[in-house]
């Protein structure tokens, strides 16, 4: 007697997701978000195919690639910082504000402090990082001492930071030679990062960004401090039970996170603009983009290098379609948000696997 083969489909829970599976899921998520954005574009009467062709053909030219590299720098540094906060269980949505404060700190040293000239840039760098770290310290202290939700407070701090920058460039710091534009004077050459000739890439900051992602990778996965920080993401009770000093680890994580965002801000004013300008032109949402960078990179500082490359590419694409199709600046948020949503959906689906047979 022959036994007839009956196909049987079983849905079962997947235990651990391997690295390869996670990478494939992320690529799928990016494709999904491109499809979603294409639908939105088509509904708004823009030919998505034409827009995408424009983005791809113009980005992958020499100028396009150097522009991507320039934009990658602040996003990468902020992403690495946010990874530390997220891994510790802190929802730091405030990289944008911390970056702006870093820019303010660097500008202060660059323009308004008498200092031995060769030290101007290194001191500006350090002061910018300290400003960013202090700006991040406020919400984490409020969380520890007064239970203020850090999602709301870090967001509010972003708006406050951009108010401060605008106040400075429209008011006391407005340059004497700027014809009424809301800019400070140009920085002296001793306060500027060297750039690769013919591009806008301020390579020392790029180097610092790659170094910081390696350092943070080692910190999080190979050191006791990093382990303790990851324990804190399980909540205060777990940390107390394992004898991990909860508050101090949270503070350290947030200081690193804010300090790195501050460094990104220093890079923007000392490397790209060479002056302080109004807030939305200094950052154009790098701090928010970094949230996606961290998530797309799987909360892994090394993974954040390819993920920030993609995001920098999308921001460059935004500039291209802004000029060619007359689309507003904020349009790229559709890509950004839908990448995040797609990752969530694909990962949730990936918790199960389908077995046939």
């Amino acid at each position: 007697m022959k036994i007839k083969w009956v196909p049987c489909i079983k849905v079962e829970r997947r235990e651990e997701q391997s690295l390869l599976v996670r990478i494939v899921f992320r690529i799928l998520a990016v494709i999904l978000s491109f499809l979603f954005s294409a639908v939105i574009f088509a509904v708004s009467g823009i030919d998505p195919w034409y827009a995408y062709m424009l983005i791809f053909t113009r980005s992958f030219t020499y100028t396009g690639l150097t522009e991507i590299a320039t934009k990658l720098i602040p996003i990468l540094i902020c992403t690495v910082g946010l990874t530390v906060a997220f891994k510790t269980g802190i929802w730091n949505i405030g990289a944008e504000g911390q970056l702006l404060l870093g820019a303010v700190g660097a500008t202060w040293i660059a323009l308004f402090v008498n200092i031995y000239e060769p030290l101007r840039l290194p001191v500006a760098l350090m002061v910018g990082m300290v400003f960013g770290a202090l700006w991040a310290l406020i919400p984490i202290l409020l969380k520890i001492k007064l239970n203020v939700n850090e999602i709301v407070s870090t967001l509010m701090m972003n708006y406050i930071a951009s108010g401060i920058v605008d106040y400075l460039v429209y008011g006391p710091w407005r340059g004497a030679r700027e014809w009424g534009f809301p800019y400070t004077d140009k920085f002296p050459a001793t306060a500027c990062f060297p750039i690769i000739p013919g591009t806008r890439i301020h390579w020392p900051t790029l180097l610092l960004g790659i170094l910081s992602s390696i350092t943070v990778y080692i910190l999080l996965s190979k050191t006791t401090l990093g382990f303790e920080m990851r324990v804190c993401s399980q909540g205060k009770k777990v940390a107390d039970y394992l004898g991990v000093p909860y508050s101090s680890r949270l503070i350290i994580a947030m200081v690193i996170s804010g300090g790195l965002a501050g460094l990104a801000g220093v890079g923007e004013v000392c490397g790209v603009h060479r002056r302080l300008r109004y807030a939305s032109s200094i950052s154009s949402g790098y701090g928010y983009t970094a949230i996606i960078g961290a998530w797309l990179g799987g909360l892994n500082p090394i993974g954040s290098i390819p993920s920030t490359f993609l995001l920098a590419f999308l921001l460059t694409g935004r500039d291209i379609i802004q000029v060619s199709l007359g689309l507003p600046f904020a349009t790229s948020n559709i890509f950004n948000g839908s990448i995040l949503l797609s990752i969530l959906i694909v990962e949730a689906l990936g918790r199960y696997r389908v077995k046939v047979g």
Binding site: V148, S153, Y159
Partner: protein, 305 residues
């Protein structure tokens, strides 16, 4: 006296959008769903309301389509966080980004266009002449609606079976499930209500408060509404009072400007006030007394403990 009445009237006028958004978010969070997408839903609501009112000439259609757009966006959040049980914080943030992007895409040709039909102020005879209290009776229709809505939503949440079910789903979904309450239905319902009201809140900005379209006109009001939800201890009636405080800060901004304060610095006042308010509140104590939804932000699944 008339000066104070006028000030209060402006304050109420400035707070309706935050109030509407917070009322919706209170319901979503009471059912256990944290939706950080309020800012994005408001932005889309504002753009859609302005666009449809401009092209159809009908305010009713404008307001309704803002509600529908809010519902559609919150449906995304519902799907990701309730059905797929993913991270609600990230999903909400993503929704805010998508919303801000879509709103600027809708509004790209509307900048600077004036709106012919906008919501006008209605003075209720006799009542609007009473000093101070009269301030409540010289408002536009949507603000009058917000008073009634606050009362209705408060009544449903605390005095009806539906309200008990919502609060139970947000507090202890497992026991709610064992009583036969459909967790997903309640959570979807509350999330969609939140979306509709966030859309309406955005519409208030673009067709009533300042009848124009400016990109980024929500300017963080959605985030302030989220803070107000906590500030009001998830109670619609406290949200009403709280929103007037925020409205007062906004009016204060305009009043201080002629006195020589820098506009960018004044613009930070509502955000500073939000942080200070949350700090003064020391949530944990209130949480214990009034009872915040204990399962807020936690997805529910029968198989998992």
């Amino acid at each position: 006296m008339e000066y104070i009445t006028e000030f209060i009237s402006m304050m109420i006028n400035a707070s309706t959008s935050i109030l509407l958004a917070a009322l919706g978010e209170i319901y979503a969070e009471r059912s256990g769903v944290l939706n950080l997408g309020v800012e994005g839903m408001m932005a889309v609501g504002a753009a859609v309301a302005f666009y449809t009112t401009l092209s159809t000439g009908s305010l009713i259609i404008g307001l309704l389509s803002a509600c529908i757009s809010g519902i559609l966006l919150s449906l995304i959040h519902g799907f990701v966080s309730i059905t797929m049980r993913s991270n609600q914080v990230i999903s909400g943030l993503a929704l805010s980004m998508v919303g801000l992007g879509i709103s600027s895409l809708i509004g790209r040709n509307l900048v600077g266009t004036p709106l012919r039909s906008s919501l006008r102020t209605i003075n209720i005879a006799m009542l609007s002449d009473i000093p101070i209290i009269g301030a409540f009776f010289r408002q536009n229709a949507l603000t009058f609606f917000s008073y009634i809505l606050t009362a209705i939503l408060w009544y449903i949440l605390f005095k009806t079976k539906i309200g008990i079910a919502i609060r139970m789903v947000g507090d202890n979904p497992r026991s709610a499930d064992s009583l036969g309450i459909n967790i997903h239905l309640v959570r979807y319902g509350c999330t969609l209500l939140g979306g509709a009201l966030a859309g309406l809140a955005g519409a208030y900005l673009s067709v009533a408060y300042t009848p124009t379209w400016i990109e980024g006109m929500t300017a963080g009001q959605g985030w302030i509404a989220l803070a107000l939800t906590v500030f009001s201890a998830w109670n619609p009636s406290y949200a009403l009072i709280g929103s007037y405080l925020f409205g007062g800060i906004r009016i204060l901004q305009f009043r201080l400007q002629p006195l020589g304060f820098s506009p960018p610095l004044l613009s930070t006042l509502p955000y500073i006030f939000t942080i200070v308010a949350l700090a003064l509140l020391n949530i944990e104590r209130i949480r214990r007394r009034i009872g915040a939804p204990r399962s807020l932000g936690k997805p529910y699944h029968r198989e998992e403990i």
